[in-house]
Symmetry: D2
Subunit: 370 residues, 4 copies
């Protein structure tokens, strides 16, 4: 059961900090056997749980509703609450290293699909940094359709990513697939990617929600916008507010593109949630010649960043090489995107002149004025 509360004694700035005024509520909760937890102190969303399988009956709900400090008992227990944009809440800005996503700042993530060779990775990292990216992507643990396919370089690949960061100052984002790997991957990466196949993996979402790392959450192939937001809600409900949503194409009926890049849903998400939204044209298109137009369209529709596959020699790649673009093509995209950003009064996050390695502690999620 979720309760939305009102605070009478305190201003919205420090609402929920001194919960004394809610004492009657807490007392009733104790009497009825509920544990309480603020899911969102600022918006005063309180979770009440009792034993497993107990959603709270109508009689209990009614008693809570009668309290003066309770605005509403959220009966639709599955509505996105924490991720919803509300009048009093502006854009959330999420940082990967020093790169801001949201609030007028566009972040650019680039790199190979999978980390295959440390030397190659460093070459790509330098190339995408020179072209204007500030975050390096690269898969160490790869989600693959077949058990017989290349499953990623694992721990060795993590080390190669850390080395590439050391040498270039780029922040790094890499995917985590298994809840048991979260600690290990989080000890290296600046941000954790949850892939589209894992969007509904609640155990994994809870585990990354227990870190404070920024989470790049990709939309499932056939996920509705609501299901996508509720996946983010799992992370936020676990205590981690640093979620970046990523649209990467939904399953369609045609094969001229691998997936259907759903920019209408990106436009919708910008109205529905305070979280930043980035676009992945590479996995949507599945072919290199459409990356540039789709990247530009993503920024034009209002996305807060891009994630693009870049590889100097796409033909040699084990997995998903088909859609990688050369660094020179990526550099052209950065130029176009920067011009588009200016039209909207936004800026593309630029690399610091001399970024010292190691300063990759995530900042807390910020909030802009609404």
């Amino acid at each position: 059961m979720l309760l939305r509360l009102r605070s009478i004694s305190s201003s919205s700035a420090n609402a929920g900090e001194n919960p004394a005024e809610f004492e009657p509520l807490f007392e009733l909760a104790r009497e009825l056997g509920y544990r309480t937890r603020f899911l969102d102190r600022e918006r005063l969303v309180l979770e009440l749980t009792r034993q497993a399988g107990d959603a709270g009956g109508p009689a209990d709900r009614s008693r809570f509703e009668d309290l003066g400090c309770v605005v509403s008992v959220l009966d639709a227990s599955d509505a996105p609450e924490l991720t919803s944009r509300t009048a009093e809440r502006g854009d959330t800005v999420v940082h990967i290293g020093s790169t801001a996503f949201g609030g007028g700042s566009i972040g650019l993530i680039a790199g190979p699909c999978a980390v295959e060779d440390p030397a190659d990775l460093l070459e790509i990292a330098r190339a995408v940094r020179a072209a204007g990216a500030t975050v390096l992507r690269g898969g160490a643990f790869k989600p693959r359709t077949s058990p017989h396919s290349f499953q990623g370089g694992g721990v060795d690949a993590l080390a190669a990513l850390a080395d590439a960061r050391e040498f270039t100052g780029l922040s790094i984002v890499t995917e985590v697939l298994d809840p048991r790997d979260v600690e290990r991957v989080a000890s290296v990466a600046d941000a954790l990617q949850i892939g589209s196949r894992s969007m509904s993996n609640a155990a994994l979402l809870a585990e990354v929600g227990a870190t404070q790392k920024p989470i790049l959450l990709k939309r499932g192939l056939a996920a509705t916008a609501r299901e996508f937001l509720l996946a983010a809600e799992y992370v936020l409900a676990a205590g981690n507010p640093n979620v970046i949503l990523c649209e990467r194409g939904i399953r369609g009926f045609d094969n001229v593109t691998r997936n259907v890049l759903d920019l209408g849903t990106v436009a919708h998400l910008k109205t529905a949630t305070h979280l930043p939204v980035v676009v992945d044209p590479s996995h949507a298109a599945g072919r290199p010649d459409l990356i540039a137009p789709l990247a530009k369209a993503g920024i034009a529709v209002g996305a807060d960043g891009l994630i693009i596959e870049v590889h100097p020699r796409p033909a040699s790649v084990h997995s998903d090489g088909a859609q990688a673009i050369a660094p020179s093509v990526f550099a052209e995209i950065v130029k176009s995107v920067s011009a588009l950003a200016r039209l909207e009064g936004k800026i593309v996050a630029a690399p610091r002149a001399s970024e010292p390695s190691g300063t990759t502690k995530p900042r807390e999620a910020e909030e802009t004025a609404p």
Copy 2:
């Protein structure tokens, strides 16, 4: 059966004009009982037909293939040929009135979903002209899911459209649903719209192909890119090269937007066909607040124009009013789109300073340098 020919004696500029060198081919065709017709003189695509139901057997194909002037017998009889972009063929520019679509020119079409009241229509026409549109849309014959719904104003609405053109100088585009109405609608409209429900209506496509009016062909709700191009192929094969393709959203599984605007397919079409492509954000979104971002995304992805529903009082509209935007919002979109166009070295087609009414004879389709 389609043959692709080569010309030895003549340059590509006048190829096919003097078909004397193809005499052996014509002789063989006559001997085997085929009628011949050039579907595309420039690209030397020749159609051979015999009686109904006769696609030509392997023996015949083989005899044609043996001729020196035959590059290939197009065995895959259902491939798009006339609509395909080829090395030697640049963008086709299609004009509605004086508004060019394609070849670096972006055309803007705006107006109400359906023509309901002549006075309202004139008010809207003046408003969209002031905001920067040069073509007025408005339905006289409406395709409706239910026979009990408002089916459009019919002939009276056509007259209202003609009046609006008279007073504003805007060109007009309106939908035709029935092959028996083509002549009547074409006598008034500057361009004919084929709606998404009619995309596979071969009888209607052939009928509008027999005119020289520009055809605004909307993609079917579940049509692949290939099926879309083959629908255009029906119009071109009937002799009318003036086709503008329109992406308006495909059927999806979510309902945050009415349809899924498929800009990946727009990007693909720009590589696959020489025809201009426009985007309809209104029917894709089905809600007014997403029209501006999707319109900008459409231009950023490379579309040659937009068609947008505008109505001063959306709430009062009989059909599809939900997604109409106010003229002031449309004016903002025109500004944004003009800025985007400049980034790409394109221009938004502007109204002539003093457009005389009546000069709406369609120009022939032009072709730019490749």
Copy 3:
């Protein structure tokens, strides 16, 4: 505007026959300028129309609602009314020739995709009759994706179909594509097929609705159940109650079958409408090895018939040969289907022992007890 009326003075058997009791209603309609027409005398559904584009304002609706004989003013003007199953209405039985579809009778339609050769057609007709079919299908006018594909044998093919009926006593169903062909096709065929590409072709639906021929209406590739029923509603609203709905697969994302046979919607339609529903496993599967299991599943889910492509030499077929099955396979399906029908207390419509040719006048649609 549609009104649902109640009759006080008369029994349901002859309700609406003597509309004297509705005189106050007709008077008000005249006063307000509406023309009236009973769309369904039995269920007392009355249509009121004024001028084009006039759906009737709230004030008018309110005045009609105040009348004692008016049960409701159907505000949702686009709801299926005539096709809806209601408490008082049992299954509609539609006959093609002497073959009943619905009301416990299962009709079997078989034949080639397209009529290509009169001798072949007769061979197939005899084979499917021997196997247990009572209706012969065969395309004379073919809907094709490409203008360069074989478009069907046209008038010659119609004559071949008539000959096959003469010799075998099978009834014949063939597709009509163009409203201008309806009269010509209807003069020969016992039933008219509206293909999936034409499901939303309102002009064509109205034209076949003006005949009394049974209409085999195929579901569009991406049509919802509601859109499908509203397409049938066009035919019923035009005065023809003889509609058989046909599920033939919707567009999906996989290619192991050409389309996704949506038997859940067949089950839904059996609850939602009084019209008979048949299943086309051939176009859904697109491969011969799945026809038998899907045909059985169609009958098990409650369909009132099947339409199956049969050809003695599938490899030689111009269009859609890939999924045709041999007559011997079809004969096995008939056996299985007959056994399934018995389990449900239904029967497969059998050929008459000595069917005289020419007795193919359609019977009127019947109605069973609810």
Copy 4:
């Protein structure tokens, strides 16, 4: 790299048991640094792995191909191999407790969506056993779209399931969501369900593959048949051959059913894989009135079993109660399904007259004659 081998010296019955004849191959593998492992001894599929990220270069492949015992090097590393039906391999029969799925035996699984109350569960278990089910389903760990929804009764629910088995002799199947829960759930359940949200969760698939429990693997909402088989391939490749595939509806565009039950893919799977396939009409339909027709259609199309939600008081259910049917309706379905099974020469697995509790050790997967 996968190799398919041929055995010259031994009959197919004991092929691969004495790998002496493959010694030259093993020697080459050692020389090149590969570890070897038979993925399937009977079909002689050998896996070669080296370090992470190393798929084997063309030079290596070529050297293996030159060996006499190598039929082929499976270059398409992502093809389903272990799950594929081949000429020499008949149906695999998988047992849950004593209930056989496949090889002419139809297994019936029934029970509530979630285990909510032990007394209720026992009531349902007795009712479904009386109606003819032999396996009880019931969720202890529930996959939920929202973190705020009821997540299942957890360990308490597992205990209730074990008790219900004790009292009724039914075998039990329940879902596992987290790889860290596999051991705990497997210690209680007779079979493990992998839900549709988890179909692509490779870590979870590998973990259940390390048990010998039968796995009920549900198809993902937008998974192709190939992706579905490759998910099963993960389980088989990990050493567990006991996989039952479950079709439960794919995401569609309409809402008359919650999902689209894809029986065409069931028919395809029966040709493509040797694994048993069951159908879940409850989650596909999402409404109780369509369960019976879809269950019958599932059996008619060739499924080896059904899984159906049954609850005596559906309205009181926390999750997914909407589609549960009453025990009496389920009993009718069992009767219909038994009659359908007889038509196909199959039988519905019946409860043993006096099933002793506790004898639920899974038998090994059997194989029928092809």
